[in-house]
């Protein structure tokens, strides 16, 4: 099988991306986020930052069907592939949008690879707007599919702590990876039960919330054929890495454009600072990095949809490139904004922190390159 020349980015996907981009533009995402971080500034004396998302915007997003782009049609979704989900993810990153949508897109691709009735039922619930997230990590943050610290008992109850759960406070159900004697499996855990305690993490990124989730013999529904959780996770891994890479590419483009605009208006030595090559050239280097990551992201999405055998290699390329790009763009966006870029008031700090966080989700550059090396 080979990829289409246009990365599968057909008119439908273009329209989807444009209309979703316009929708997020209207949401004024950063303005909407600001009240939730006010008063939380001081790391010692500041208030705890509440988990935030704009419920009205999320409802509109569900009405537009954005949450269901990749949910199969049989489960009430739109049934588009990763190319469409990546287009949406790129816009989420560009607008640094705090919402349950990233979790929804990621969970969709995990559930698609579970191939059980329970997984299909959960997908159908998601198509109705049910908010689902992923709880796959142990405390080490290991990237192995069996890296969980949670264990499942004979009767299917889960015990242990799941770490680094993204946007846990925005979810109603978590897909938890847990070990038993038959291996690793994925389970659906409803968060409203008393056997689940969500402990909010204090994190640097202001656009997400994160928690470690403590399970004490929690009721759970197994989503995978006994012992096949690791292979479901492996199959969905290229999609997960590519979705985060797309988010980073969108955020990177924002950092590039915002920094270039600032360099045109900020005057020093009687000139806009973008006149000086010491400023101009690093901005160009940001563009080069962003473009490399973007091209590899589109390639990875198309590989997943049209050339599945090549999907792991392409996803490693995309996330490796995006992780390094995110760090580089973040660094330059702050540095080239000078003093103002270092302040809480500047929007660049919000994107900087989001990129720092995204860099390590589903593997950083070094890890992905090591996986790639094994394929070369």
């Amino acid at each position: 099988m080979s990829q289409p020349k246009d990365f599968g980015f057909d008119e439908d996907v273009q329209m989807l991306k444009e209309s979703f981009g316009r929708f997020l533009e209207e949401q004024q995402t950063i303005e909407a986020l600001r009240p939730s971080i006010k008063g939380t500034e001081d790391p010692i004396h500041g208030a705890d930052r509440p988990a935030f998302y704009d419920e009205k915007a999320w409802q509109q997003c569900v009405e537009l069907g954005m949450h269901a782009v990749s949910i199969p049609e049989e489960q009430g979704g739109i049934g588009m592939g990763l190319v469409a989900a990546v287009a949406i993810s790129e816009e989420i990153g560009r607008h640094a949008w705090a919402s349950p949508l990233s979790n929804t897109l990621q969970s969709t691709f995990v559930l698609i690879h579970c191939e059980s009735d329970a997984a299909k039922a959960l997908l159908a619930q998601m198509a109705e707007g049910h908010r689902v997230g992923l709880a796959l990590n142990g405390e080490e943050g290991s990237l192995a599919p069996d890296g969980t610290d949670v264990t499942a008992s004979e009767d299917g109850r889960l015990t242990g702590t799941s770490w680094y759960v993204q946007d846990a406070m925005k979810a109603e159900t978590l897909i938890v990876s847990a070990r038993s004697e038959s291996g690793t499996d994925l389970y659906a855990v409803t968060l409203s039960q008393p056997e689940v305690a969500i402990h909010r993490d204090r994190i640097v990124d202001l656009t997400r919330d994160q928690a470690h989730v403590e399970l004490s013999a929690a009721t759970a529904v197994r989503l995978t054929e006994k012992g096949s959780g690791a292979s479901s996770l492996l199959a969905s891994a290229p999609a997960l890495a590519t979705l985060v890479a797309a988010d980073m590419a969108g955020a990177g483009e924002w950092q590039l454009q915002t920094t270039a605009e600032y360099a045109k208006v900020r005057q020093q030595f009687d000139r806009p600072i973008g006149f000086f090559q010491a400023v101009k050239h690093p901005i160009v280097d940001m563009m080069i990095c962003v473009d490399e990551a973007r091209s590899l992201v589109y390639n990875a999405a198309a590989a997943y949809d049209f050339d599945r055998d090549d999907a792991p290699r392409c996803a490693h390329l995309a996330k490796s490139s995006a992780s390094d790009m995110g760090a580089f763009s973040a660094q330059n966006s702050t540095q080239l904004h000078g003093g103002i870029g270092f302040t809480w008031e500047a929007d660049v700090q919000i994107y900087h922190k989001r990129q720092m966080h995204s860099q390590f989700l589903f593997g950083d550059g070094t890890w992905h390159r090591e996986q790639l090396a094994a394929l070369l």
């Binding site: 020349k5 483009e253 101009k280 490139s321």
Partner: protein, 401 residues
């Protein structure tokens, strides 16, 4: 280009090109060719490469899409296919790369009909080798400060001055020449000429590069004569015409014919192989995670370059027509340099062994290629100038000039 987007006749043409190249690939020259066309100095190499280019032209692999009166083959949308097949085939490069890559687009875009009909066919056949007379000792990155003068006398121009870094000047029959007709107007006082190299007023002196090779030259113009009908564009429009030429040199123009050389993807595969086969401290260098990470980072970047060219053609995804193409030269040359640099690191002490040392890896190809990689990062607008262009034309930053 994947098979399904090609028309039936394009598909047939591609199969024809691949088959023709396979069947007509020349025997290697007894003396190994230099790494690129701009380093050729041996006259027997010149003849060998001219013969090869002429065969490719006759076969329709060069000037595929141009009309017959220009020496073309009257096909439609076939040049890109031919060029891609040539690059894949592992055949010798085209010696007349300045003619193909710079003179042809300049004449097509800015020349007149008489100039095209006279000059284009022998460029394609390789019979007339061309060189470029832009840079001067005092005009490099700031090209428009060039001082070579052009004074009109009757129906011809008298040229005085000197040009430098003139690749293939020693073989060239014609030069793309920029000269100053007006000292008071920096950009508007330059005129573009096609100068005959075979005349008493022109002398060529080789310059040795850091590699020891001497592919380029200093060219002295001492009352050299150019007929007025060999002017390209109007008097004073030379800068505009030159920009058209440089756009081609920077990889953004329409390609006519291909400069066949090793693709970055191929060099990448060679360096990975080098790391797997070179042993140090009792194990392959590939087993060292530090070197492996550096190498795979470059693998990522070469793959990104491939995907960038794919994306550049898609309006919805490319962020503007020039954004990706204008990155081609700076990114490609810097990747090549870093790859060669890594190759030296993989070889370690063995990288000290140069061309014609019996124990050198790949006959000294890696140190030679490393040094030659600076051709890519300096010529045709250095990487620094490329970054100015990208910042100004793509991102709209204030002009540094």
């Amino acid at each position: 280009m994947s098979e399904k987007q090609l028309t039936q006749s394009q598909q047939e043409f591609r199969e024809y090109c691949a088959r023709w190249l396979e069947e007509n690939k020349p025997e290697p020259h007894p003396i190994p060719l230099p790494q690129a066309a701009y380093e050729v100095t041996d006259p027997s190499h010149l003849t060998y490469l001219q013969d090869w280019q002429a065969k490719c032209w006759e076969a329709g692999l060069i000037a595929s899409d141009l009309p017959k009166r220009y020496g073309g083959h009257d096909m439609t949308d076939c040049q890109a296919i031919a060029s891609a097949e040539v690059r894949k085939a592992g055949v010798p490069y085209f010696i007349n790369w300045i003619g193909l890559g710079m003179a042809v687009p300049t004449l097509l875009e800015c020349g007149n009909e008489a100039q095209r009909e006279r000059f284009l066919p022998p460029i394609f056949s390789g019979e007339d080798i061309w060189c470029q007379g832009f840079s001067e000792p005092g005009a490099g990155s700031d090209l428009a400060s060039l001082q070579t003068s052009a004074v009109k006398e009757g129906d011809h121009w008298v040229i005085n001055g000197s040009k430098v870094w003139t690749s293939l000047g020693h073989f060239a029959k014609y030069m793309l020449l920029l000269a100053r007709n007006d000292k008071t107007d920096k950009y508007g006082g330059i005129t573009y000429f096609l100068a005959d190299m075979d005349q008493p007023g022109v002398s060529v002196k080789p310059i040795h590069k850091m590699t020891g090779e001497s592919g380029f030259n200093e060219v002295f113009l001492d009352n050299a004569i150019v007929e007025d009908h060999l002017r390209v564009g109007n008097v004073g429009d030379g800068w505009k015409v030159a920009m058209a030429t440089l756009t081609s040199e920077r990889g953004a123009g329409v390609g006519v014919g291909a400069v066949a050389s090793e693709s970055p993807t191929l060099v990448m595969a060679q360096v990975i192989e080098l790391a797997k086969t070179t042993r140090r401290n009792g194990r392959p260098v590939w087993d060292d995670p530090v070197w492996r990470d550096r190498l795979v980072k470059m693998y990522e970047r070469t793959e990104a370059a491939v995907q960038n060219s794919r994306r550049a053609r898609l309006k919805a995804l490319n962020g503007g027509a020039m954004r990706i193409p204008l990155q081609g030269k700076v990114v490609g040359s810097e990747i090549s340099q870093e790859l060669h640099h890594i190759a030296l690191g993989i070889l370690g002490l063995k990288s000290s062994l140069y061309v014609r040392d019996a124990h050198a890896a790949d006959d000294g190809k890696w140190p030679l290629g490393y040094m030659n990689s600076y051709t890519g990062t300096i010529s045709g607008g250095s990487s620094e100038i490329q970054r100015n262009i990208l910042g100004e034309r793509v991102l709209g930053l204030p002009k540094t000039k």
